[in-house]
Amino acid sequence: MIPAILARDLRKSFGSVSVLRGVSLDVQPGEVFGIIGPSGSGKSTFLRCLNSLETIDSGDLYVNGEFVGYCFERGNLRELSDREQSAQRMRIGMVFQRFNLFAHMTALENVTSGPIIVKKLSRVDAGEQGRHLLDQVGLAGLYDRYPVQLSGGQQQRVAIARAMAMDPEILLFDEPTSALDPELVDEVLETIRQLAQQGRTMVVVTHELLFARDVCDRIAFMDQGQLIECAPAEDLFATPQKQRTRDFLQRFNVSEPS
């Protein structure tokens, strides 16, 4: 089976700062894959490379069996054109830490923008699908609210519905709850938990370790641009193999299942 994501010895630096220092991992279709690690370890950067919001310096990166950002042309690697790039990104949904909703559009318009603008779906069909998605994430009746009129948790759920509206094969979450007030975290986690049961490939970067243990099939621990350890969720928490992983988990008091 072709892995949904395959990274081999990925390297990336910003100027003299080396952010990804040889990351290799694979995510299988249908898998829910978690990435945890301290701040600044390169988790967001890795995720952003997956849909070419960042370019990699070296290494191989395949998503859905295709090179990310490049294609083979007469034995050379050629950068993708704007159109090809967009076709590739359509198949990957992304949910950002800071929601990034389109400020001039209502909740429903945010959700239908992709299908209408990119997929050229009719307004009526897209609207129907959009309302259905907003209902699913628990926002029935808030279709006409602008982002400023929604709470953080509601905004993030609109963002999730917006990503879902393109029906992507892979869904990426970059710390979807870390910009939220504590009492709003659960509603967003609950939404992601439901999505995880639908069999879609997901990569979730999160600081919510207990949530990751519950929801993810496998979890990778990243530190200083390297993938330190990758194991089935229960195992990583119960029997971490590396000292650095143990140190990190201990700080959160979740190394021993209680």
Binding site: I92, N100, V118, Y146, Q149, L150, G152, M166
Partner: protein, 293 residues
């Protein structure tokens, strides 16, 4: 333990309240009234024949001049915004040629006075005696370059250089996170621009563009130098004959102030409309207590 609620401190209940005095407000008001009455006195006793003002306010020549002023404001501003948008996009594009062309355009047309540019366009025939495509369409520049066209090009092309910078700043101030989100959804660069960036740019640039429109309304008077018949040109032709300089200038002031008042109102309405999505309690919606973003 005794509570401090029953202490000997004085109470605020049933004590008369007096408001704070503001003596400076009275002083400034008195100064203003004195200055204003001096100005009024000067106008009342000065050499002003008010009947002329009333008479020329509705004179046909003045009204035609004013409509030419408005026409030129609208057309030159439209040209300025179109060129400004184009130049702003070229400045922001990754194409180095487009970039350099736009930078050169902005450099030249912001670098020289509009007055000079108006004269340059009007006298274009001295540099290019004929214009057109050789062999196909050709015309003598003096015939083509009427005062109207020279004024339109002089004012519009120069305005474009200023508007380009306003629009560029507006585009740059759109939240980059939203642009990334649009890309992640699969929008192509032109779609991101059209559906995400430009609508939000429009809201940001409305106040400065409104400012520019008001500026343009008054800059059209410079076109008098190439004898375009806007209101100031018409007024000067009249006062050369009847010598009623101040009266004619008062008539023009009234027209300008009237137009600027309307433009300011229009701008306020437009800003209101574009700001809908930023209004926490706009339209029929009522945001519940405690739900903030």
């Amino acid at each position: 333990m005794t509570t401090s609620l029953e202490s000997d401190l004085p109470t605020m209940t049933n004590v008369a309240r007096v408001t704070l005095r503001h003596p400076m407000r009275w002083v400034t008001a008195v100064v203003c009234v004195i200055l204003l009455s001096l100005v009024f006195r000067a106008f009342a006793y000065g050499q002003i024949e008010w009947s002329y003002v009333g008479q020329f306010l509705t004179a046909k020549a003045i009204m035609i001049g004013f409509s030419n002023t408005l026409l030129m404001t609208v057309l030159a501003m439209a040209l300025g915004i179109a060129l400004g948008l184009l130049a702003a996009l070229m400045r922001l594009s990754s194409n180095p040629v487009a970039n350099a062309v736009a930078a050169g355009y902005i450099w030249f047309f912001r670098g020289t006075p509009v007055y000079l540019q108006l004269l340059l366009w009007f006298n274009l025939a001295l540099i290019f005696p004929v214009i057109g495509i050789p062999g196909l369409v050709e015309a003598r520049t003096v015939d083509v370059m009427t005062p109207f066209l020279a004024a339109l090009l002089g004012l519009g092309v120069c305005q474009g250089a200023y508007t380009a910078e306003v629009i560029r700043a507006g585009i740059l101030s759109v939240d980059s996170g939203q642009i990334e989100a649009a890309k992640a959804v699969g929008m192509r660069a032109p779609q991101v621009l059209r559906h995400i960036v430009l609508p939000q740019t429009l809201r940001i640039i409305t106040p400065p563009i409104g400012n520019e429109v008001i500026g343009m309304l008054k800059h059209t008077s410079l076109a008098a130098v190439i004898s375009y018949h806007e209101i100031m040109h018409t007024a000067s032709m009249i006062y050369f004959v009847n010598n009623r300089v101040i009266e004619m200038l008062i008539v023009c002031s009234i027209y300008y102030l009237f137009a600027v008042t309307l433009l300011s109102l229009g701008q306020a309405l437009l800003e209101n409309r574009l700001g809908r999505s930023l209004n926490k309690s706009s339209g029929k919606l009522k945001v519940e207590e405690g739900v903030g973003a």
